[in-house]
Symmetry: C2
Subunit: 343 residues, 2 copies
């Protein structure tokens, strides 16, 4: 590490903003004005505008001991894109507000923005503005996102009805197990800094935790086959928590078949190693950024062969009766509440 | 203080969001969906969309020892509305992302949102969403705002040209002097907690610091008389810094007449008392949230009698020649850089 690092005070806030701006020239035709004025200017289309925001705070949502800044930037964007996907929308523009401590270097901020830029490129979105300010304590990454959706294609949490089929994308629990692996390696390293972390066999899990991808691919595929989910939410707090959101907002109940819950083989092995129930990882793990949605029975044929969509249960009309049918055919109430950072 | 306070852990994150949601029913016809789903849904109009964001962090932007939470909520909204005003736009919707430490009570969060609600009412805007999360350190208030503007009426920083007249609204320096008063009273109180703060004669200054108002009134008035500023910016970092932004973005220079700079009499008296030059307070104070703008010569007659718009100088065509003509007719280069939180 012989490279010279630059203190932010050397170039100042405006110098920093100039350097960031150069990374994000406006390439999106819906953006009339990007970084550099009091507000960005967006040209509206005929579609409805989706708007969401998500804040990641050091010491709560991430630990810089094992989180590369580039991945953190990527993840902050993915978490926001995932919210737009959950409305059945397409993401368009983001703003990034950063709170950074004085110990941060210009190079560290640039690493964060390189991850943001890679995410912008992967999701085809434009960074149009934000705010860069000091933080008295840890790093704060607050991202805002605009997206768009045809008014008749939006999927709210409130649209599920009796007999709808409950679907999830990808696999669940891996991000949570990735976090367990990273936390264990951190403790090993703190006990003996000579130790090298052994992460090879957990590669998928660690990537799911550090650099998750939002499922915009699924939104395009559903559009291609003409399916509009009757309800949808992204899985950030854990499947159980998201199921309860849909059941409450829709005034229905859900019945989930444990046998149908998708888990990756690496996650399965890690759950066994950590002696945590795989179903607990799936139901309460969180941060998978997969999509949970419901479809009407008649749409089932259109996606039944999709390799990455799993049918995990169905909707019934008894509100508050949200249950999991276990592999042993036990009936277990779904009660989990997701992350509880305030305890 | 016999009232029982509620810990956030007692009602949980979702319980807290439910309580906040009840404060903000959707009353805006441009908002199709407010708080409660993965994203808000906004119905676009024919106008261009303005989007800005601004983050306030405890220990950097505010000190909770003397900042009532209700005022802080109000100020966070004002700072964002001011950015929309600075584009010659009308604010429409906001999101509020909060990072709060576990010591915060539900009542404290509600006080913050009461201030936000009052601001929403004063500015006629709708809160449509946000994010409520834990913070390992201090309070974080990150607000996003959408506004709208007719495409041919927007005022950028880059539109000033030779012979334009430079205008500012209201008076300057009071917010900075209010901060000096509050900091002094804090030190007095810390030295002797029996002392009661004496703020009566600084009432205007303290209010300017704690509960500033954005000048949307001026935007409506300019519209009414048919004036579109050739350039505009809001005064958050200090007049000098904002003048340099306009001169750089427009490729021009500015010439400012010290004698024409507006200051309130309370601010003048406090500057004398604190032994700080009034011009330093005006040029470098910051946080006044007044508007700095330029108009073409032919528009001058339309606003020359406006009691709250002051004509402080003019634009010339020598870039980088930004000067203040002092009361003694000295020529002083304008070089200030606004707040430097990173030093």
């Amino acid at each position: 590490m012989s490279k010279e690092l630059t203190q932010i005070s050397e170039i100042g806030e405006f110098g920093l903003i100039d350097r960031i701006s150069k990374l994000f020239p406006v390439e999106d035709e819906g953006t009339a004005l990007g970084i550099g004025d009091d507000a960005a200017v967006i040209v509206p289309s005929e579609k409805d505008i989706l708007w969401s925001t998500d804040m990641l705070n050091e010491g709560i949502h991430f630990d810089l001991t094992y989180t590369p800044l580039q991945h953190l930037g990527y993840k902050a964007v993915s978490a926001n894109v995932s919210d737009i996907a959950a409305m059945n929308g397409i993401p368009k523009q983001i703003t990034v507000s950063l709170g950074i401590s004085s110990k941060f270097t210009v190079e560290a901020v640039e690493a964060l923005f390189k991850g943001i830029k890679q995410a912008c490129s992967d999701y085809n979105i434009q960074l149009v503005g934000g705010d860069t300010t000091a933080s008295a304590a840890g790093l704060i990454v607050s991202v805002g996102i605009l997206g768009e959706v045809d008014p008749d294609r939006k999927s709210l949490r409130s649209g599920a009805s009796k007999d709808d089929i409950i679907c999830v994308t990808g696999d669940l629990g891996a991000a949570f197990l990735g976090l367990q692996v990273l936390e264990r390696e951190k403790q090993v390293f703190q006990a003996n800094p000579e130790m090298q972390p052994k992460l090879d066999k957990y590669k998928y899990l660690v990537e799911r935790q550090l650099k998750p991808k939002a499922r915009i691919d699924i939104i395009h595929e559903l559009r291609d086959v003409g399916v509009v989910p009757t309800s949808m939410i992204d899985i950030s707090d854990g499947l159980a928590s998201e199921l309860l959101h849909i059941s409450k907002a829709s005034g229905v109940g859900v019945r989930i078949i444990e046998d149908n819950l998708p888990i990756d083989s690496q996650a399965y092995d890690a759950a066994v190693e950590f002696n945590i129930s795989t179903t607990t990882c799936i139901m309460n793990g969180g941060e998978d950024y997969e999509l949970l949605f419901t479809i009407s029975q008649e749409d089932f044929k259109k996606i039944e062969k999709h390799p990455d969509i799993h049918f995990i249960g169905y909707v019934h009309d008894k509100p508050n009766e949200n249950i999991l049918i276990s592999k042993q055919e036990q009936v277990i109430p779904i009660t989990a509440q997701g992350w509880k950072h305030f305890d």
